[in-house]
Symmetry: C2
Subunit: 483 residues, 2 copies
């Protein structure tokens, strides 16, 4: 898993025999692959799906099953939010930052309501109710939550806020697995042939066209003819250290890769056929610093005792900005009214306490007049309902003035900073893999985290963007491949 | 210049005729190409050099002609610096940060003294004297200056500082042109055949081996057979906006690309033959905020009024960290003893003045207790010779307490933030272009800014690293190609 293998394409003339023949071959059985298979089947194509693990899931099954959808859903309306396609699309572009694919944002902005209906049509249940507050996933079976930085600066100044995290109706955390189960069942019902323990190792090319793939089953190469196309849906490269070293070295600042065998194979296969891999330096990271939920009221400072972000942003944006700070750690400041014992799994430790912020500052070994001045300034303005430095909003904005005080240490190496990669193949809005000149590679499609899509920028990630991208652009790729 | 052209390799069978036949074809006539040509000639190979402009130079000729060399040169010793290979090598690795190519740092660390002698042997003059102070280039004909962050934290804590910017003896700025003139004369003397107005548009491949290149001369394709190898030395991609958008989008925060037709062609050609392009998100930037020289004593704050760096670092590191700050600008704070009118070309404007830092703060529209608190804290400690936040060192560290005070605005869009790209082809220490599995591509070599080399990380750049990389690894590539 730590070396870059070579995935040379195999010329069709060198194929000894066809072990499988299909119209569309889908590689990878997470949400992107499942949706590609469903749509390709629905379009009348014969579809085979090859998955290296022993069953469906991928990183999608490890997720909360949350999909970023806006523009005025039933759940949004029922909760009194008047979201529009314009605000939703604008937010998607802000979330993509300098890496935003505007065409993908525009298309998904227009089509997300129809996509939501499609998900329901596949059998994904949505209770349709809104759970207020700042939660990571619903702990009950609610299906709409705030899942990004919509209500925080600077996003709120450019796009009217609305909650857009639509979660499959499912009791508690972990909606990803039941979501995948439903998509898998649907793909099987429509006739997709599923082959597990089958790992793709090369594409097969016929001149400039991708004509199939080589998959390794029981340690033997099998040759798959895909008359209409191959869809790559194998996830990112968070578990490939050699790729991360070359393309995403800043990810070594953090420590807890999350995913399911995401070794970058789809990216390597796509590039081997002339594809273009973009924004490979981007990664998502988050540390569970808002759990317990009262900790969302905390203030974060760097080792200089300076604030660096409006802490009402999405926890992943705050965490990503934290990792930009020097010194290998940041501190989360809490008072009596907000502090609870952090989760064990978070690896967040108590670094200092005190009856005053001056005492905390001294315990942290910071010079007098750093952290304490930061907190005096913050509290003075917070009492007046303002954050002139970072524009944090009430009710998250509130003074931390009930002693005793505590400073928690979020250490990039020893606290739980989960992360995954965001860079990947450049694809068209139809899911075609594009070459470096921007032209589609005939017969080759891709979706999900082996592509650069809606969740393009680590500093702008919002929960549900990746599954939105996987499911919607997985469908696009499957449809186009079957066409 | 703003679209990514496609550079498909041409199969040798499709070559209609050979217009040129040589052992080694060098593409690009900056310092890297010149040094490759010299060494290939010296090894007995027939060498042809193709340059798209009408003469030699490239970005190298626009530079100061400064080469980063350490380990105990004559000039270092004469000035009383006892530099070692270990400290020098360690600094090279620190300067490369998370992108450092350790093998290249180790090799250059060991070989730099011999490389310095080689440069002298080619006829490059060095007066051998040291010019103290914090200068960008010598304004006289001195040949050794501080050109990086050696004496600044955190570098100074890991590698003993020494000045290592070795500049060709030349009166005033602009040593790059005379350096190139010397290298060009040497290449011509050794028999390299120079073809100008000749732009490479494709590689020619014979199976897995690069066998030549297609060059466009007078708008007609000419076919170059290179029996031993092709050396790509065409520079970075700072003038290719489409490539920057895909691979280096943060570079759009700044505004003044510098280089000479650096459109990324060498990277595209290398990738077209299976090469690997790495660290493509990295760029160098600098704003001339240390000119006049007294401005080096300034303090930089972001729009929140916070310091963010020890300002005694290399001006490019300070500038790159500045560009990470939110709000599109930073402020440089000066007092009566340090302020002079900024250079017109810098586009640095006076944003606020005052008899006290409180007045400056108010003029900038900052809340009371931000910038003024920063400066009160800074001055208090600076008077005691300490910078507890960022460890800035004396004599650059000194209080700014002689009113009136001024805040200059360094605006990323309107001030002169020059920049160029650092990412490029992954090469071996011998200059071989490597594929994504790390294997050399037969017949293909590269050097300079179309590769990722010693200057790998924008936040760690030091003056002279790029020319060190171009000249030394250009030589490596030329020798290996001729072997």
């Amino acid at each position: 898993m730590t070396s870059c293998s070579q995935y040379h394409p195999l010329a069709i003339d060198a194929v000894p025999q066809w072990d499988f023949e299909t119209d569309v071959a889908v590689i990878g059985f997470g949400a992107a692959g499942a949706c590609a298979a469903i749509e390709a089947c629905a379009a009348g194509a014969r579809v085979m799906l090859f998955e290296r693990s022993s069953g469906s899931g991928g990183a999608s099954a490890l997720s909360g099953g949350e999909i970023y959808i806006g523009g005025g859903t039933d759940a949004q309306k029922a909760a009194g939010f008047d979201d529009t396609v314009e605000d939703f699309t604008k937010y998607l572009k802000l979330a993509g930052g300098p890496c935003a694919d505007e065409a993908k944002c525009d298309l998904y902005g227009r089509e997300a309501l129809a996509h939501y209906q499609w998900l329901k049509d596949q059998g994904v249940p949505y209770r349709g109710n809104f759970l207020p507050g700042k939660v990571i996933e619903p702990t009950d079976d609610s299906t709409l939550i705030w899942s990004g930085s919509e209500a925080a600066s600077p996003f709120r100044n450019h796009a009217r806020p609305a909650p857009r995290g639509h979660v499959i109706q499912h009791m508690g955390w972990g909606g990803g697995r039941p979501l995948i189960d439903i998509l898998e069942a649907r793909a099987r019902d429509l006739g997709a042939e599923i082959h597990v323990d089958a790992r793709a190792v090369a594409l097969i090319v016929d001149g400039d066209r991708v004509a199939g793939a080589v998959v390794r089953i029981d340690n033997a190469d099998h040759f798959v003819r895909a008359r209409k196309g191959v869809v790559l849906a194998t996830g990112g490269f968070v578990f490939n250290e050699a790729m991360r070293r070359k393309y995403c070295p800043d990810s070594f600042r953090v420590n807890a890769p999350i995913g399911d065998k995401d070794d970058g194979v789809g990216i390597e296969l796509g590039v081997s056929a002339g594809g273009d891999a973009i924004h490979m330096d981007q990664f998502f990271t988050t540390c569970p610093w808002t759990m317990p939920e009262s900790h969302a009221f905390g203030v974060l400072v760097n080792v200089q005792g300076q604030r660096f972000i409006n802490e009402d942003c999405y926890h992943g944006r705050v965490s990503r900005c934290a990792v930009d700070q020097p010194g290998g750690k940041v501190y989360q400041l809490l008072d009596l009214s907000t502090f609870e014992q952090p989760l064990d799994i978070a690896g967040i430790t108590i670094a200092g306490t005190g009856e005053t912020w001056e005492e905390v500052e001294a315990e942290l070994g910071m010079p007098k007049g750093t952290l304490s001045a930061t907190m005096a300034f913050y509290n003075e303005y917070a009492r007046a309902g303002r954050d002139p430095l970072f524009d944090k909003q009430a009710p998250i904005l509130r003074p931390l003035d009930q002693s005793p005080f505590v400073a928690l240490e979020l250490n990039f190496e020893t606290s739980y900073f989960s992360f995954f990669t965001l860079g990947g193949l450049k694809t068209s809005t139809a899911g075609e893999v594009l070459d470096r000149a921007g032209q589609p590679i005939a017969g080759l499609f891709a979706a999900g985290r082996c592509t650069s899509g809606l969740p393009a920028w680590g500093h702008g990630y919002s929960s549900g963007l990746s599954l939105a991208d996987c499911t919607f652009f997985g469908r696009q790729a499957g449809r186009k491949a079957a066409a």
